[in-house]
Structure formats: structure tokens, C-alpha cells
Symmetry: C2
Subunit: 348 residues, 2 copies
């Protein structure tokens, strides 16, 4: 099997403070109480498509043990450790060079580690078909689009010329996160899809794109080409990685490419990037609260109460609020204001 | 010196959950951030009036070590341990019998361990004068009244016939906690004072009252009369104390006595019996929040935020609320509803 899955798991998830902290980011948490962390669920979701030995996890060196704890099936050498964060383009280049050392004709699915998918069967159908496509079209860079269900301003969008369902079609353009007015227009138009951050391509397609659009990155990695897949790989990366440009794969490659494709999928996807999206996807009590942990919740509605095991809480008299307690840190705020969490944490 | 001070420190203070829990009640906490626990402040407040060796603390056996930690000046044998709670009359009888074994002609000040006094000099003047009075009037039972500053419904009241300031006068009657309408009348009338729960009397006066109004209690304690002040005292109490009637000194003695006196004092007293009173007496920030601990408080007003050392918190978007975090327990509620804390804790 020449299919690989690259799980990008280097994020620190500061938007979920205090649940997700630097020492234990979101991808390693079971925020929704499904019994599995996001990264574990991601692995299992791709497992019918990709042999277990072909999973590559790219993460921060600090999280290597967490990855191996949660996916003990993968080899330690398949956990690639970034010495620092350099955005998705260098992360993906690192994984691609590593895969090239093992399988020059691979087809690769690249996925974030911390998204929710509720319809795994449809997911596997879409991704399987996409992998077939990029194996037949060895210049194609494919990104998975999600049919929008609301005028979301928190996601980037993919525009296509043709809104034909279920077909793999060329991308017309990528759109940055829109304001509400434009998000409503995108939703109404029907030919705009959320950008899921899941990519499919062959080694040929992605290496050709890297050479064309990010030649400096290729130059940096080519210096150690023969070290990938060997005992020297980590030392080379530790020396070289800092010099990589901090650039996303979307901005560095996808927006510039001429041979990019997408499909409008509908497999119950969310990036669970905010407490609000957690609230949306969690189970609710009769007062529309999403409560987890040992908590008595009284005269409270439309709120998230998330109490770590080992703590107890009484919450009364709140509406549209968030109460999260974990690891000696407490957050109480209005759900509507959660985009400010990062700045409050900095203040703290 | 024949003056003694009895500090009653057996309470469990469930109204201050989670700060005050069974294993660490309010009297041992520095809730106001003054640098001293309530019991330590009580000891220091009486120290100019009573020799250090004449302090008696009555507490639960479980709190003996906490008492000795916070008042290392007192002898272990002066910490009297109740095997269970039996209200203030048995507590005081226990202390009085213990004192009688050392000093039959003592005069005694009895005080709760967990009150706030801001004007200690005036306090010492009032108590000193009261002790002089009960030493001259060896049948007098004296209780300290507090000039009311608001129509408080959380305190009992002492009625006098004469509202002459600063004089020690007979008590006309004791009034239970009034409703707001009556509290307003009491305040307007000028001859009603808050009952502070601080008592002054000679051994003669209190023993005579016990004999007259609580003869069963006297009978119980008389059985072990010769054991007080000896190595047998604790075993005797452990056997006998459970049989004591659960009755307050107010109801059992003061309301029935004919020779009771009071003085209307004004020394900045509060029983800090509620989060609301803590809020009143604590320092406030510009948004009228009382904040203690490592907390970032944003867009929040008129609230108490009390975060234990070792925790950190972000609190946003609240008004008239209470956020308290201690010992793995969190309380978030409206300040106005704090009288329900006890029932929420039971639910938890």
C-alpha cells in the first residue's frame, strides 16, 4: 500500500484554555466526552484507508510521548518532532520528505489532529474517492470542502464555478475568513464550501508545487535529503527547521497552484475550534447546558460547564456562560466573548 | 489575674463553602486577607485584657491541631475538645467547669472565634469596662450589644428600655432575627442592638444561672466535677457530652435570666457570616469587586472573586456574583442567592 496519512498535531489550542494548555493541547483531549481524544479519533477514522504503519504524526517534541500514549500502534520513528512551530507548509514538507525516503510514489492524506467528524462512513467514502483521484491525476492538489450549514465567519471558504454535488471539481479561488455579510452571500450562492484543512495529493504533485512556489523550503530540505528516514533525520531537522519560512500550506501553495481540486463533502465536520462549537456538538440537558464533570448546575441555561475529574463545582445563576476548570485554572466568561480568551490568558 | 477568655471555635461554617469546609472551617481562615485568621485575631484582641495562660479554646477534637498551630502561645490542656457539636450552652458549661477547677473566682469573657472587629481599642475599652462590671456585680450576666447601622435581618436583637449611650443597662428582652419590617422599626427606635454573641460574667453568675435554668446540664457535669483540670477530664467529656441538651446559651440562659445587662458598643463589629458581609468588609476595586488571589477580572462588577493560592482564574461578564475556588471545589453563583449554598452543597 502506497497510501499515507499525515496527522498534523503540533498545535497548542490556546482557545480552549484552561482545558487545553501548552502542556496538554486540544488534540490530546476528549473534550466532547466521546471516550476518545481527537487525535485517537483521527487515527481510527483514517485506518480503513491507510495501513497502520503508514501513519505519520508531526508534532512538537514536547508532545511525542502523548502521541505514542494515544496511538500506541504507530512506530516511534513515525512520530516526527518539530523543534519549534513553523506553520503547516514546513510541517508538511518535513512529512513529505520523510515519506519520500520510504515510498517515492506515495499518495498522502494530510489532516489536522483535532477535528470532529460524525459520519465516518461518508468520510471514508469521500477520502477514498479523493485518494483514487490524486493517484490518477498525479499533478492534482486536492482539498476537502465542507458544505456550509450556516454563515460561519470562523472558517476560510473554497469557491468553485460549478455547484454540482459530489463531483471532484477544480477550485476557482480560496477566500479568507469572511465577515458575516459575505458569509451569508457565500451560503446563499451555493458554490462556496468551508475549507476543512484536509489535503490529498501524490508526492509528485506536492513536490512539484513546493519546487514551484516554495523553492527556499525545498532548498533547505534538499540539503539533508539523504538523512530522511535515517538516524540523522532528527538532528538535521533540529538544525534546519528554525530557518524555514513560517507559512501555511494554504497561502504558500494552494492559493498559488493551478491544479487544485475540491469536493463538497457532508460528513458532520467541525473543527471544534471554539467553546461555542463544543457547545453545539455536545449533549445538552433540559436547560440547554452542556455539562461535564462533577457539577451541580442550578438556575443556569445555555451554558457550558466543564469540570475536570477530581474537581467539584456548584454553578448557579448563569446564562450563555462558560465555566471551565482544569489543572488549577478557572475560566468563567460569556460564551459570546470567548474570542477574547487568548488575550485574557496573556494578561494572566 | 482572675480574668479568663473562652473562645468558642467549634463551628464548621458551611455558609462559606468552598473556602470553609468541614476540614478547615471559617475561624481558621484569613478570608479578609488581613494576614491573620479570625481565631488568631480574636486571641490578639483579648490579649491586652486577659493573661495568655487564661485563654480557653473550646473546639471539635478534629480542629485541635489547627488551634494550636494558629495560637501556639496557649497550652494544649487549654484547648478543650468537644467530641460532637452540642450548641453553645454545653460548650460554655464545659469551659466554665474547667475554669472552676483552676480559679473558682474567675470572671470570664466568652466570644465566638470568627467575628471581625475593626476598632480594637474601643473593643478593649468596652470589654474591660464590662469585666469590671461583672466583677462588681457577681450575679450579672452581660452580653455585648452592637449599635445597628442598618436594618439587618441576619442578627438577633437586644432591647433595652433606655437608649442612653455607653452605659451598662439592664436588658429588657431578646428578639429573634426579625423580618425586614421589624428590623427597620428596631433601627428607627434606637433602643435595639445587635446581639454580638460575646458574653461577660463571673463564675458565680453563670453557675447560678446554669443551676436555675439548665439543672440537667449541671447534673451531667457535676458527675465529673473532680475530673475537670485532671487527666480524666477528656475521657469524662467524651462519655458525657453526647447526653447534653443541644441548646444555645441565648435560649437556655439569657432569655430566662432576670439579671442580664448589656452595653451598646460601636467597635466595627461584623460576624462575617455570609459572602455578602465579606463583600461589604473587603477592599474593592474600581468596579466594586472584592478580588483575592491570582485572577484576571474583566467586565465584571459588584462581585466577589476568591481564588485560593495555587490556582489561577479568568472571570469575565459577571455582575453581583460570587466565584470562589478552593481545595478542588468551585462555586459560581449570584451573591443574592448565597443562602442556598448549604442546600447546593448537600446536592453535590
Amino acid at each position: 500500500m502506497k497510501r499515507y496519512c499525515v496527522i498534523m498535531a503540533g498545535g497548542i489550542g490556546s482557545r480552549f484554555w484552561p482545558l487545553s494548555k501548552n502542556n496538554y493541547p486540544k488534540q490530546f483531549l476528549d473534550i466532547l466526552g466521546t471516550g476518545k481524544s481527537f487525535i485517537r479519533a483521527t487515527y481510527e477514522r483514517f485506518l480503513p484507508l491507510v495501513p497502520s504503519e503508514n501513519f505519520i504524526v508531526v508534532t512538537n517534541a514536547a508532545y511525542k510521548d502523548l502521541v505514542l500514549q494515544q496511538i500506541p500502534e504507530i512506530k516511534e520513528t513515525n512520530v516526527l518532532c518539530e523543534p519549534m512551530r513553523r506553520n503547516t507548509a514546513p510541517c508538511i514538507a518535513y512529512a513529505v520528505y520523510h515519506i519520500l525516503s520510504q515510498c517515492p510514489e506515495a499518495s498522502i492524506a494530510v489532516t489536522p489532529a483535532d477535528h470532529l467528524v460524525t459520519n465516518e462512513r461518508e468520510f471514508q467514502r469521500i477520502i477514498g474517492r479523493g485518494l483514487d483521484f490524486v493517484e490518477q491525476h498525479r499533478d492534482a492538489l486536492m482539498t476537502i470542502g465542507i458544505k456550509p450549514s450556516r454563515p460561519e465567519t470562523g472558517y476560510g471558504y473554497i469557491e468553485v464555478n460549478d455547484k454540482q454535488n459530489d463531483a471532484i471539481v477544480p477550485v476557482a479561488s480560496f477566500k479568507e475568513k469572511p465577515d458575516l455579510e459575505n458569509a451569508k452571500k457565500f451560503l446563499a450562492a451555493g458554490n462556496f464550501f468551508w475549507n476543512s484543512g484536509i489535503f490529498l495529493w501524490s508526492t509528485d504533485a506536492i513536490m512539484s508545487a513546493f519546487r514551484q512556489y516554495l523553492p527556499d523550503l525545498v532548498h533547505l530540505f534538499d540539503e539533508g535529503k539523504n538523512m530522511f528516514g535515517t538516524a540523522q533525520e532528527q538532528a538535521f531537522i533540529n538544525n534546519q527547521f528554525e530557518r524555514c519560512e513560517n507559512i501555511s500550506i494554504d497561502y504558500g501553495v494552494m492559493e498559488r497552484s493551478k491544479s487544485r481540486y475540491t469536493v463538497a463533502a457532508d460528513f458532520g465536520w467541525s473543527d471544534i475550534g471554539t467553546w461555542g462549537s463544543l457547545y453545539t456538538h455536545a449533549a445538552h440537558d433540559e436547560d440547554r447546558n452542556a455539562v461535564s464533570g462533577h457539577a451541580v448546575v442550578v438556575e443556569t441555561a445555555n451554558s457550558v460547564v466543564n469540570i475536570e475529574y477530581g474537581y467539584e463545582a456548584i454553578v448557579q445563576g448563569l446564562d450563555h456562560c462558560l465555566v471551565a476548570l482544569r489543572d488549577h485554572s478557572l475560566l468563567v466568561c460569556r460564551l459570546d466573548d470567548e474570542q477574547q480568551i487568548k488575550q485574557w490568558v496573556e494578561k494572566l
